[in-house]
């Protein structure tokens, strides 16, 4: 278990016209034993950052510290980071067991002992029965496990995972999330996981760093990131969000005049009254009321609108409601609740003040 500290890591590629920096001054501390996620859309620099950690790429500037030791100039093979590659990178000419033995072998561990380590790790991922197969005789999920076993067998200081589940089909991916988290946590290794899949990040991570355009936008526990996104990008990238812009009427408690009506929020803000703000509400936090049920239409956090469409997803349904001033909100409800609604029905959308998120930026 090591602590990983990144200080001002930047990366720019010299070649190619008009290519800006891939990473800009990344500062980050990953705690010992933490399962840390780098989350962002493609091209945000997350894989580049992971490769810099592995030593496969050199940062243009900045330092990498493992437990306070500067490893920025250390060759990839001396870093003792073990990576699970997106395409697994299992060597097709070596058997499963030989793949897994490779790390211990490079550390000079004697043959009997390294075979033992390899078999142990294969047992951990339940692949010991396949030890003597070649990688191309395995399914995607099995290859994924072997890749993990190979990384674990190297007894690394930290484990690096580059979208390891992205090549699996949806069902298997969902199943592997829980299992992968269990395996990584049991290994008691500091682990860094790169993904663009917000569900993966939310369900598996101890902490998440959201990246955009080569910068870290927000760091926090999954709940923090989801419930208190800092800006529109995070709110939109992680889960879905309904946005409203308006002016701050008062600051304590917060009240915002938006184009669709007045919204109260329990969040605190440092901005002055009168300044323009943006806020958002998660689709599942919106309640839909029949318009006849409410006499007091001027109550805050109650916005009138018309149902535009209803999409049925099984247990849940998604309703699009057109609010005043043409703003369209998405509302997620249990399908039973949607039964009395039809396109064109007039409704009221209610939001609990605790669920109105005032964005910082």
């Amino acid at each position: 278990m090591i602590e990983i500290r990144l200080e001002g890591i930047s990366k720019a590629y010299a070649q190619g016209a008009g290519s800006g920096p891939v990473l800009e001054k990344i500062d980050l501390v990953i705690e010992p034993g933490e399962f840390f996620f780098l989350l962002g859309p493609s091209g945000c620099g997350k894989t580049t950052l992971l490769r810099i950690l592995a030593g496969l790429l050199e940062p243009t500037s900045g330092r990498i510290l493992f437990d306070g030791r500067d490893v920025t100039q250390l060759a990839a093979e001396k870093r003792r980071t073990a990576m699970v590659f997106q395409n697994y990178a299992l060597w097709p000419h070596l058997k499963v067991i030989e793949n897994v033995e490779f790390g211990p072998q490079m550390q000079g561990i004697e043959p009997a002992r390294r075979r033992q380590i390899a078999l142990e790790k294969l047992a951990v991922v339940q692949m010991e029965a396949f030890a003597h197969r070649k990688p191309n005789q395995l399914s995607g999920g099995q290859q994924q496990r072997v890749a993990l076993a190979r990384a674990l067998a190297a007894q690394p200081q930290c484990l690096l995972l580059d979208e390891p589940l992205s090549n699996l089909d949806a069902r298997l991916r969902a199943k592997m999330r829980t299992e992968l988290r269990r395996l990584v946590k049991e290994s008691q290794t500091t682990a860094v996981y790169v993904t663009h899949d917000q569900k993966e990040a939310l369900s598996m991570a101890d902490r998440i760093a959201v990246l955009c355009g080569g910068r870290i936008v927000q760091i926090g526990r999954p709940q923090e990131i989801y419930q208190r996104p800092k800006n529109e990008f995070v709110a939109d990238f992680i889960g879905e969000a309904n946005f409203l812009t308006g002016n701050l009427l008062q600051t304590n408690p917060v009240k915002i005049r938006t184009e669709a009506g007045v919204l109260a929020s329990e969040m605190k803000t440092e901005r002055a009254a009168g300044s323009a703000v943006k806020c958002c509400v998660r689709p599942e936090k919106v309640q839909i009321h029949d318009i006849k049920d409410f006499a007091d239409r001027n109550r805050p956090n109650l916005l009138a609108g018309t149902v535009q469409s209803i999409a049925y997803y099984g247990e849940l349904s998604q309703i699009e409601v057109r609010l005043n001033a043409g703003v369209v909100w998405t509302v997620t409800v249990f399908s039973g609740r949607a039964e009395g609604l039809w396109p064109g029905a007039e409704v009221l959308c209610g939001v609990n003040p605790a669920d109105v998120i005032v964005l910082e930026e």
């Binding site: 093979e77 590659f85 395409n87 060597w91 000419h93 490079m106 990384a151």
Partner: protein
């Protein structure tokens, strides 16, 4: 303490800081510069020099010589016909083998490559036996009652020899085009054709409008090699006895003691024409269609052929293979024939000629020489080719593209032209006279073979490296392997098939190489097999043909032996080698 740095000489500090890869790159550049560009420069210069001054004198004489112009035209025609024949022959083969599946497909497509390692030069030895006035063809026709050999003059199928040369070259060179076409076809996303079918195009329209244009780079890649090879081949025409070619003229003049500007002016013209045709072909055919960058969206699973389809495929492929190895069967029969006059098959068989060849010191030495030359050039090629390919694919080193281009250029420059350059470079009184043909051309022969085959090794290894994701190497580094360990444990085993295929191709080519061998080996002690065969075939000996054929057989045996050894070493993977 501070002084230690300044005490060491400057060159040593440079050396210590140098990246070994950059050093290797510089070495390869040096090699190509000295043994490719310099000889060409020497030959060109000699062709443009008269009485010690720059002059167009020799070129002017050449262009007023109708005989030479006719020979150049013949060479051009020969190359055109051979390339066209190859294309017509291989297009249906490539389509059948990539679009359909049938029983025994692997064996047949594997056998298709056999002609590649059986040089037409050797096969040509038996061509008179087949096509002469009292040759096998006429005798068979007589037996069938079509011909009557006793009355009148039986037809002479050889004619001037032009057509025989084209056919022999076609049967030898078609695998090159076949390999390129089938690779190009296999890489073609079937969705392109499906989209056209979907929009209402018929099969023929799809082929003409979609498939053929997309195949252009493949056609160029194979076609240009065939064209330039045929344009300047000397082995087959010499053996068939068709000498009205510019290449044969160059060869004959180079063999003289006093090679003058007259010869080099012809060398210059042929060099310019070769490069011109290459560039022209590249412009017309070679432009990338962009199709190869698109990954196939659907797997192109071949359609299974039924009984009649399979039979048809067997007859077609089998027929071509049989035709291609027929000359070599003739060579084997000639080698072991005791008496063979005016009969379809030999009347008597004997091992005398083979034993004679094995007992005589000259032929034995020739076989040994060939083994040494071929072994050395293969090793050198693998080292240079792999290093260059690795620089190009993995390190994207500065100058790697130029290096790649330099190593590819020998494709556009014929062997006999380069050999002429070596003759000019090592002329008496020149700096490199010591490695010239009259002293000891071992080094020159090895280098000539190496340079001429380098493009194939670079391409072969490059293809291999491009097929293995870089992450496989990175994963090894990540788990603690050094750069060297990663290359040894991961990269080399994964591209082994490519390395061995390239090595085999280089080796078999060098074993029976003709152009450089005939020109550069001028003292008998240095003769490789091919020159010995040529010498024996043209000797006044009564059984000259049998002895030459025995040597040819010996050459093929050595070749077969090395292939078999490779097969044993590689086990099942040999099949993969020929697909690489």
């Amino acid at each position: 303490m501070e002084r230690t740095g300044t005490e060491r000489p400057l060159w040593r500090r440079y050396l210590e800081q140098a990246d070994p890869l950059v050093a290797a790159e510089v070495l390869i550049f040096l090699f190509v510069g000295v043994f490719f560009f310099w000889p060409l420069y020497e030959a060109v210069q000699a062709g443009l020099t008269a009485e010690g001054r720059f002059s167009f004198y020799w070129l002017g004489r050449l262009f007023s010589n109708r005989i030479v112009l006719g020979q150049i035209a013949n060479s051009f025609l020969l190359a055109c016909v051979t390339t066209a024949l190859c294309l017509v022959l291989t297009m249906p083969m490539a389509i059948v083998s990539t679009r359909y599946q049938f029983r025994g497909q692997g064996i047949l497509t594997g056998l298709l490559l056999v002609p590649l390692i059986l040089p037409p030069f050797v096969g040509a030895l038996s061509i008179k036996r087949y096509l002469g006035q009292f040759g096998i063809l006429n005798l068979v026709l007589e037996r069938l009652g079509v011909l009557d050999l006793s009355s009148g003059r039986p037809p002479d199928w050889l004619g001037s020899g032009f057509w025989v040369v084209t056919v022999l070259q076609t049967l030898n060179l078609f695998p090159i085009l076949y390999l390129n076409l089938s690779a190009a076809l296999a890489n073609l996303d079937p969705a392109y054709a499906q989209a056209a079918r979907n929009l209402g195009a018929g099969k023929w329209t799809v082929f003409r409008r979609i498939t053929l244009p997309l195949l252009r780079p493949g056609i160029f890649a194979g076609g240009s090699i065939v064209f330039i090879w045929s344009f300047t081949d000397i082995g087959t025409p010499l053996m068939v006895g068709y000498e009205e070619l510019a290449s044969v003229r160059i060869f004959k003049e180079l063999a003289r003691a006093d090679v003058s500007g007259r010869t080099y002016s012809l060398v210059l013209v042929m060099l310019v024409l070769s490069v011109l045709f290459y560039v022209l072909g590249k412009v017309v055919f070679g432009r990338s269609s962009g199709a190869e960058s698109a990954k196939a969206s659907t797997a192109s699973a071949g359609q299974r052929l039924g009984f009649w389809g399979t039979l048809g495929a067997w007859v077609f492929f089998g027929g071509v293979i049989l035709l291609a190895i027929l000359p070599h069967i003739g060579v084997v029969l000639t080698a072991v024939s005791g008496q063979w006059i005016k009969t379809i098959l030999p009347e008597r068989y004997t091992l005398d000629h083979l034993l004679f060849v094995l007992r005589q010191p000259e032929p034995r030495r020739a076989v040994l020489n060939s083994l040494v030359y071929a072994g050395l050039s293969t090793t050198l090629d693998l080292v240079i080719g792999s290093a260059a390919a690795w620089m190009l694919v993995r390190r994207r080193l500065r100058g790697a593209r130029v290096l790649d281009l330099c190593l590819m250029l020998p494709l556009a420059v014929p062997g006999v032209i380069l050999a002429a350059g070596y003759i000019a470079m090592t002329a008496p009184g020149r700096l490199l006279e010591a490695i010239g043909p009259m002293r000891n051309p071992t080094m020159l022969l090895v280098i000539a073979y190496t340079i001429r085959r380098a493009p194939f090794v670079v391409r072969g290894v490059t293809a291999g490296l491009q097929q293995i994701p870089e992450t496989l190497e990175q994963a090894a580094r990540n788990l603690g392997a050094t750069a060297g360990q990663a290359i040894r444990r991961i990269t080399v085993p994964l591209i082994a098939a490519n390395l061995i295929a390239s090595g085999l191709l280089t080796f078999s080519y060098a074993m029976l190489e003709v152009s450089d061998s005939l020109v550069l080996a001028q003292l008998r002690v240095h003769y490789p097999i091919t020159k010995e065969i040529y010498t024996q075939a043209y000797s006044a000996n009564t059984d000259a043909m049998q002895i030459a054929a025995s040597l040819g057989l010996l050459g093929m045996l050595v070749l077969g032996g090395s292939l078999a050894a490779a097969a044993v070493l590689m086990g099942k993977r040999l099949g993969a080698v020929f697909r690489a």
